[in-house]
């Protein structure tokens, strides 16, 4: 795999939600309308980007457990101004999202991927990689919420669309769970086909 591909990995090749099944709870619980999705995208992007960049300055000499606690404290501190700003931009949506908004402060990208991936890279490459990981999450929640809003509520960003049969079950958490499951299946299928083609079809392609 070349360096260019690894930077873009988070967007398609190793998508946070579809590949690693990380940060799925906000997608399932809150990703039923585009308005919710916009609020989640804003909060997730801001908290994750600032926290991971700030966390990269934490000395590596500290024990692992202490570093993780510091990352959490940083992200919790970042969460405070992000929440205040969100209340200004998305006043009604924030109440509806509830606990899932707060959980974004301790999402897997900050807690797990920082040590496993980001802080092993050079800072410049890490920033690019992080941006694409965030874009990967944003793209998935946008697609999921767009489709779920259309199918379940018959609207796009609260504007009514002429659909005669609505499936309101898809607006519920179980619908989101199933919808995401289908998307994951489709994503893995496409990825395995493309990898198979890239390797010439004769190598053993593992599907992680």
């Amino acid at each position: 795999m070349n360096k260019r591909t690894s930077v873009f990995d988070g967007l398609i090749g190793n998508n946070t939600v579809l590949s690693s099944l990380m940060v799925i709870s906000p997608v399932i619980m809150c990703g039923d309308t585009l308005k919710n999705a916009m609020a989640i995208i804003y909060a997730f992007s801001a908290i994750t980007f600032i926290s991971v960049i700030a966390g990269s300055f934490v000395p590596r000499k500290l024990p692992y457990a202490v570093r993780i606690i510091i990352y959490t404290i940083i992200s919790s501190l970042v969460f405070i101004p992000v929440k205040f700003a969100a209340q200004q931009f998305f006043p009604q949506v924030i109440n509806r999202i509830g606990i899932y908004f707060m959980l974004l402060a301790v999402n897997s990208l900050i807690i797990v991927q920082t040590e496993a991936k980001f802080y092993r890279m050079k800072r410049g490459k890490m920033i690019f990689s992080l941006i694409f990981y965030i874009f990967g999450f944003d793209a998935v929640i946008l697609i999921v919420s767009f489709l779920r809003e259309l199918i379940a509520h018959g609207t796009i960003y609260d504007r009514v669309v002429d659909i005669d049969t609505l499936i309101s079950g898809f607006g519920l958490p179980f619908g989101g769970f199933i919808f995401l499951g289908l998307m994951c299946g489709l994503y893995r299928k496409i990825r395995s086909v493309s990898r198979h083609e890239n390797t010439g079809g004769d190598s053993n392609v593992s599907d992680d």
Binding site: T165, L166, I167, S168, G169, G175, I178, L182, G185, K189
Partner: protein, 313 residues
């Protein structure tokens, strides 16, 4: 292996025969629309199953025909006047979900109950309103006078004004013929097509609570109406006692059926919501799976013990 495969196909055939019999009774009460609904559900399920098996890289075999019996079970739970499109969507959804979780060899819930709950969350108003028996609605017509089901009336008022003959024949809105259901249950029970333990457990649990916590003043009426409404008998035969879901050993299956019946009875008694047994059967499916897992572990331990004993000898 060959014998097991053959027996599984005979089970499907037996279930299909009983379901078709019930469907014929529906035709008698609700006209051709009931049959068309059944046909649409069966065809849609079959096509979706074929597509799903192909996408999963498997070949479609006779064992995959279970999707048709599932579609028929779904149809029998629906009002004949329901929008065909809704029934079709529910069938597609059910087959996709079944295959999403691993297909027929890895069933983690009854497909029919999933379809019912899915429809309940999406089109509740259409699902619980029926036409009166003998009111035949045309295939392309929209039903006029819709009524609540007999189950709803019984749950909210605690009484029903139907003769025993009408109950036996299923001459009530939203109910199936008790006579046919009992005959089907007996046939499937003695041919071991359903889980005996789960069936006996469900019947025992319902009977037990109908006697000690009657829903109406008279215990006889309580038992009679409890079994003839809320799809209790239908779900006991075709959903809870489904051999693909219920624990294999009758001992564990009994408790699975018993708890399902007890919880659903309690929910009906306290919430007055109809057909709770289907929702409860879906919610308690993990219990059945846990029992199955336990059985598997016990078998493995027994095998290991036997192997150990042989080595010592």
């Amino acid at each position: 292996m060959q014998k097991k495969l053959k027996s599984e196909r005979f089970v499907w055939l037996d279930i299909m025969i009983t379901l078709i019999t019930l469907e014929i009774m529906q035709f008698f009460y609700y006209g051709a629309r009931a049959v068309v609904l059944c046909g649409i559900c069966a065809v849609v399920s079959l096509i979706t199953e074929i597509i799903c098996t192909r996408l999963m890289g498997r070949h479609f075999t006779a064992d995959d025909l279970y999707c048709i019996s599932d579609a028929l079970i779904v149809t029998l739970m629906l009002p004949a006047v329901i929008d065909f499109k809704i029934a079709g969507i529910a069938c597609v959804f059910t087959v996709i979900i079944k295959n999403e979780f691993g297909g027929r060899k890895n069933m983690i819930f009854s497909p029919a109950s999933v379809a019912y709950v899915f429809m309940l969350t999406s089109w509740r108003s259409q699902l619980i309103m029926y036409t009166e028996p003998h009111v035949h609605t045309g295939i392309s017509e929209k039903a006029g006078n819709l009524v609540s089901s007999a189950s709803h009336v019984f749950n909210t008022t605690g009484k029903l004004n139907f003769t025993d003959f009408e109950i036996l024949m299923g001459n009530m809105a939203g109910s199936l013929s008790m006579l046919l259901l009992v005959v089907s249950a007996v046939i499937l029970f003695f041919r071991s097509d359903i889980s005996k333990g789960a069936f006996v457990g469900t019947i025992t649990g319902t009977l037990f609570l109908a006697c000690i916590l009657p829903m109406c003043s008279n215990i006889y009426d309580s038992v009679k109406y409890t079994f003839s409404t809320n799809m209790v008998l239908f779900a006991s035969v075709y959903i809870i006692s489904d051999r693909r879901i219920a624990p294999k050993h009758n001992y564990y299956a009994f408790f699975y059926g018993f708890f399902t019946a007890v919880f659903s009875y309690a929910l009906v008694a306290f919430t007055q919501k109809e057909n709770m047994i289907i929702i409860v059967s879906l919610l308690l499916t993990p219990v059945a799976l846990a029992f199955r897992n336990l059985e598997k572990n016990i078998e493995l331990l027994e095998k290991a013990e036997k192997k150990g004993a042989v080595t010592v000898e």
